[in-house]
């Protein structure tokens, strides 16, 4: 079965509203969608460079996000500084192993998965690899879908800070790691939004004759 691509047929779909337009020849200036006025692009502009930029920033911030505490608990008996991993351990030891797994998956596995997946997608599309294209397309959809759930820990800490406010008995404060962690979530989401999944399928341009 022959697949016809929009680029091959000279069509230009609008990313914003889905309207399919006929493309002008390559020399013509970029135009806007007649229906929704969004600029029309064959591929997301500068997709690879922007995705790498967001991804590298996220990877750099991932270190303080895990090394610094995200939550500081002060009770009459003890003072505790919890990193993300520390919080998981507390849940696990406390018997809520199901919640420990949820937080572990959402806050540690998901950001790592997203970063690794985006690196794989970037490297393979740069080399125009045809290795398992459907699998890579599915991987991208997974990354897109799962993106928001890493925000889980941010909300948990915010609620605990607001609720456990018994000054004399117990108090929870947010730690500096939380800002880094929030930044990691935002940056990985931006990275996956910048990546154009059509690059997975694009064939390399034939070399021009000298």
């Amino acid at each position: 079965m022959r697949i016809r691509t929009a680029a091959g047929l000279g069509l230009l779909p609008c990313d914003a509203c889905g309207l399919v337009c006929r493309a002008l020849p390559p020399g013509a200036p970029a135009l806007c969608c007649p229906r929704c006025e969004a600029p029309l692009h064959r591929r997301k502009p500068d997709s690879v460079r922007r995705t790498w930029a967001f991804l590298i920033a996220a990877m750099l911030l991932y270190i303080p996000a895990n090394a610094l505490p995200i939550m500081q608990t002060a009770t009459l008996i003890y003072d505790e500084n919890d990193t993300i991993l520390g919080g998981v351990r507390v849940l696990w030891r406390g018997g809520s192993w199901d919640l420990a797994i949820i937080v572990f998956v959402a806050s540690i596995c998901v950001p790592l998965l997203k970063m690794v997946a985006l690196v794989v997608l970037l490297v393979t599309s740069r080399r125009h690899s045809t290795w398992r294209q459907t699998g890579r397309a599915r991987l991208y959809r997974l990354v897109e879908f799962v993106g928001q759930w890493s925000m889980l820990d941010v909300f948990v800490v915010a609620l605990l800070v607001a609720l456990v406010n018994f000054q004399s008995v117990a108090e929870v404060r947010a730690g500096p790691g939380l800002i880094a962690f929030g930044a990691v979530v935002v940056l990985t989401m931006l990275a996956s939004m910048s990546f154009d999944p059509r690059l997975i399928w694009d064939e390399p341009e034939p070399p021009k004759c000298p």
Partner: protein
């Protein structure tokens, strides 16, 4: 430029497909990469407007009433969403409080209000003002509206505190649960239908103007 209607281009791999009618539960998948192209059986605009109004009411309830109440040694503490945001801000992690406020309060509220406005105007046969900008805003806010994640977050924090103090769920938490379901439905509505509805309106108006 010429418009090619009846053609659908896969956003994820550029493959071109012909649009077909689907049954109420039908889903069209791209033949090359498996991404979802469109669905059949969309809810009509009246139902969506009703859901949107319901969401607005539930949103107000969820934010006015506290989410849970804690009791420790006779002292009670309770918080609404906004209280949690303020407390996070006061702790010194300002950017995080801003992020939480945007993703759980401002963006969902904006989505409800703007979506409701567009639906109401289209159903009355009028062109909504600022339609194009509103549609772009609705599309851009979708990935950043995180009420479902917040819902799971409240459940996790309830369990975390349960060991420390006695916890009583309040109206707020149930309202957020309902809001999660409503917002998920609103956010899965295919915005392209609104673009097409607007086009029909313009076409109808032009015909009426020509015959008048």
């Amino acid at each position: 430029m010429m418009r090619a209607s009846q053609l659908v281009v896969c956003e994820h791999c550029d493959a071109v497909h012909e649009r077909r009618d689907l049954g109420p539960r039908g889903r069209a998948l791209c033949v090359r990469c498996g991404a979802e192209l469109y669905r059949g059986g969309h809810r009509d605009l009246h139902t969506m407007l009703a859901l949107t109004l319901a969401s607005l009411i539930v949103f107000v309830i969820a934010n006015v009433y506290p989410i849970i109440t804690l009791e420790l040694q006779g002292v009670a503490s309770r918080s609404t969403l906004w209280g949690a945001i303020r407390a996070t801000w006061d702790t010194g992690v300002g950017p995080v409080a801003v992020l939480a406020a945007l993703t759980v309060f401002f963006f969902p509220l904006a989505q409800i209000v703007l979506f409701g406005y567009v639906l109401a105007e289209l159903l009355r046969g009028r062109a909504p003002r600022g339609f194009i900008d509103i549609m772009h805003a609705l599309r851009l806010m979708r990935p950043w509206s995180m009420v479902e994640v917040f819902m799971l977050g409240t459940l996790v924090s309830v369990v975390k505190i349960a060991g420390l103090a006695s916890v009583t769920p309040q109206i707020g938490i149930f309202a957020f649960g309902v809001l999660t379901i409503l917002l998920t439905t609103i956010n899965s509505f295919d915005l392209r239908l609104l673009w097409e509805a607007r086009e029909h309106l313009a076409a109808g108006g032009a015909a009426a103007g020509a015959s008048a």
